[in-house]
């Protein structure tokens, strides 16, 4: 190649380059823009601006959960406020209110004694199956209440006291206990319902019991009652209805896919929180009257045998029924001397 030929070739390449320059590099540049990982990503500033508003914030997620891309939805904020505000306040004030009420009642009435004094004879009040159902519900409910209370109040009460590590381990363990002890509670609830529902249907004398305040406020007042008085029937139906609500919503929370939309799931969580707070308050009153509040009451679920005078004062119609049956079956051995 002569010198002139080489120069012509270089000039031709240069000319081609000058003409094609605007075109040829365009394809690689466009590709580069398409794969630019930061060109369309959300900046922190934009995200915080969006979070201040009430608009929905959604994106794309690589995991196969259709709910995952929903970062912020307007309804979620209202739910979060209710959950961390209203429900927490309701829980705290329900607990404090019930404990205060029981304290005031104890200061006014003291421990309710057996007016006629212990008779020295006992009567069978609850059989083994009844006490088993009661204690299965009681043990599981107390564990559920404590671990549930930790979910509501733990971060503000326990976390500052025991630190992040201990609180994290405790809450993770509590979550496992809560998730699985719930099934034991459901079993106890179903068993108690079957065993006691027949005895907890409303009767006319329940109105008399309510009108007389159950005889709880005045010494020597004992309205008639069957195996369960009106107060106990209220507790029974509170446990049945509240327990059923907690069980259903609890299963929905365990399996959010079954619960439907996020709004449904949030509704179940609110019902779960409200029912738990109210039922815990009812159970606090039940524990009080079944232990320190009334002499002889614990024996009913302790040994299953109660003092005859206690039974006559608080469940007169039931004692008449039992004694009538005993007389009909030659004494029957239902009433026995205390050991």
């Amino acid at each position: 190649m002569t010198r002139l030929t080489r120069l012509l070739a270089i000039a031709a390449f240069a000319a081609l380059g000058a003409v094609g320059a605007p075109l040829m590099p365009l394809a690689p540049m466009a590709e580069a823009q398409q794969v630019n990982p930061t060109a369309e990503s959300v900046t922190e500033d934009k995200l915080f601006q969006a979070l201040r508003g009430d608009q929905m914030i959604e994106g794309r997620a690589s995991i196969p959960d259709p709910k995952a891309p929903g970062l912020i939805k307007p309804g979620n904020k209202g739910w979060a406020d209710t959950h961390t505000g209203t429900i927490r306040a309701l829980t705290v004030w329900t607990m404090i209110g019930m404990v205060a009420l029981l304290g005031i009642f104890y200061a006014y009435r003291g421990r309710i004694r057996i007016d006629a004094g212990p008779s020295g004879r006992t009567i069978k009040r609850f059989g083994g199956v009844e006490r088993f159902a009661h204690w299965l519900m009681a043990v599981s409910f107390i564990l559920l209440a404590l671990t549930g209370l930790n979910l509501v109040l733990g971060r503000s009460v326990l976390l500052p006291m025991i630190g992040e590590g201990a609180f994290g381990a405790l809450s993770a363990s509590g979550k496992i206990v809560h998730n699985y002890m719930g099934w034991a509670f459901m079993l106890g609830l179903a068993l108690a319902f079957v065993v006691w529902v027949g005895r907890n249907l409303p009767k006319a004398h329940d109105l008399t019991w309510i009108a007389m305040g159950g005889g709880l406020f005045k010494k020597g007042v004992h309205p008639p009652a069957g195996k369960f008085n009106a107060g106990q029937k209220l507790i029974f139906w509170s446990v049945v209805v509240g327990g059923a609500a907690l069980s259903f919503t609890g299963v929905m929370l365990l399996f959010p896919v079954l619960a439907g939309t996020q709004a449904d799931w949030q509704l179940y969580q609110l019902i779960h929180g409200i029912a738990a707070a109210l039922l815990t308050a009812v159970i606090l009153a039940h524990i009080y009257i079944g232990s320190i509040g009334m002499e002889g009451a614990f024996d009913a679920m302790g040994s299953g045998e109660v003092d005859l005078n206690w039974a006559r004062e608080h469940h007169s119609l039931w004692v008449e029924e039992v004694e009538g049956k005993s007389a009909g079956s030659q004494g029957g051995g239902r009433v026995a001397p205390a050991e």
Binding site: I63, E164, A169, I176, Y180, W183
Partner: protein, 51 residues
């Protein structure tokens, strides 16, 4: 006392049994369920209150 102890034992058995049944048949951990060929999710551990 026997009824109470029986309730405690049965409660534990039901809880452990339900955990075994649910974990083996109905429940999967998030890392296991959502790990794909393109994305591996590791277990967050026990401490979920890291700020």
């Amino acid at each position: 006392m026997k009824a109470f102890l029986a309730a405690v034992v049965v409660g534990i058995i039901v809880a452990v049994g339900s955990a075994q049944l649910l974990d083996s048949r109905f429940q999967t951990t998030t890392p296991a369920l959502y790990t794909t060929e393109g994305a591996r999710i590791t277990s967050p551990g026990d401490n979920l209150v890291q700020f």
